[in-house]
Symmetry: C2
Subunit: 203 residues, 2 copies
């Protein structure tokens, strides 16, 4: 049996993916985790907000790891991006379309009301963008271009989750992934062409 704290985190993660922050009660959490209220407040003395912050931070780190696995499998960032979208689509279909990512839902709910949670989500998104950005740089993009493109990919990923869950069909995630892949490929091609021209000019 997993440690109590881990069960609480895992249960909250899944409940947030289904119902979001305000839509999930601590009663649901303790029931799903099989843990009493006392334990919850033992591990998270500041209550729901502290629990949510832990879920955001820890889930964010595990998704970062997951993306790094995809990226490590190839030197082609476009392929890694496409594969990541395809994996997310699969997850959606196998989970009755509960959100793939608790962070996007919660971030959108609390961005104007819980500044601490907003900050935690901000750090997570930034870590993802930085990671993808590094890979895009390694493949030939300038830093500014790489970061902006990485942010677009993350935005498209999060947005495609909204559409897929709303229509209960994950194909939009796959199509969006394909589009992101061609966008990445095109930008890399442009960068290489510019580099070629400069070489031709003796730069």
């Amino acid at each position: 049996m997993a440690a109590t704290r881990d069960r609480i985190i895992a249960a909250t993660n899944e409940l947030f993916r289904r119902g979001g922050y305000n839509g999930t009660s601590l009663r649901q959490v303790t029931d799903a985790a099989g843990a009493p209220t006392g334990s919850l407040y033992h591990f998270f003395p500041r209550g729901k907000a502290e629990l949510a912050e832990a879920v955001i931070t820890e889930t964010g780190a595990s998704y970062l790891e997951l993306f790094e696995l995809f990226a490590a499998a190839t030197s082609d960032p476009g392929a890694a991006v496409g594969a990541f979208f395809d994996g997310a689509a699969e997850t959606l279909e196998q989970s009755d379309y509960i959100d793939v990512c608790p962070i996007g839902t919660v971030a959108r709910e609390v961005a104007n009301t819980h500044d601490r949670l907003r900050g935690a989500a901000d750090r997570v998104f930034s870590s993802w963008i930085e990671s993808l950005g590094k890979h895009l740089e390694a493949a030939g993009l300038a830093t500014t271009e790489a970061t902006a493109l990485a942010a677009t990919v993350v935005a498209a990923l999060e947005g495609s989750f909204v559409l897929a869950r709303t229509r209960r069909n994950a194909d939009v995630v796959r199509h969006t992934g394909n589009h992101m892949r061609s966008l990445v490929d095109a930008q890399l091609r442009d960068a290489h062409n510019r580099a070629q021209v400069n070489v031709g000019r003796g730069r």
Copy 2:
């Protein structure tokens, strides 16, 4: 003074953009609208869910109209898309980063819990995708390509709102808009090139 029903809808729209569905109480709505509980239940007998459904449907229709205005201003869909993102970025900055769109937030919150609201959001997103898709078809894309690309643009739009609100900076919306614009331009170019080749081959 606007009619009571209109004030209730407008107040709810703004409150949803700030705090989402579960994060907004009917007390907040009646306070902001300056309307008593009795009036709210007079216009929306099934309560909060019915009110939310009306907000989604009516806001969705007004954003559709707004996009059609942008699209009517030019025969270049890429330009219309870019301008729409820029306008949204402006709105975010001027509103303390409350969401541009109450529908995306609410859709993500209730997709697994309120099927009626999910359905209403689905119809709205579909109407946007269909509208943009038509313009992309008119510019030369095949129907399937046009619909898929339109969905990607809507996904990127919604996703960029999440990132922008989370980091309290709307530049990501502008950058995403630029990327969507180049994506649209590239796909239209490809379609035209394919058409040219076919002409060259005497098709």
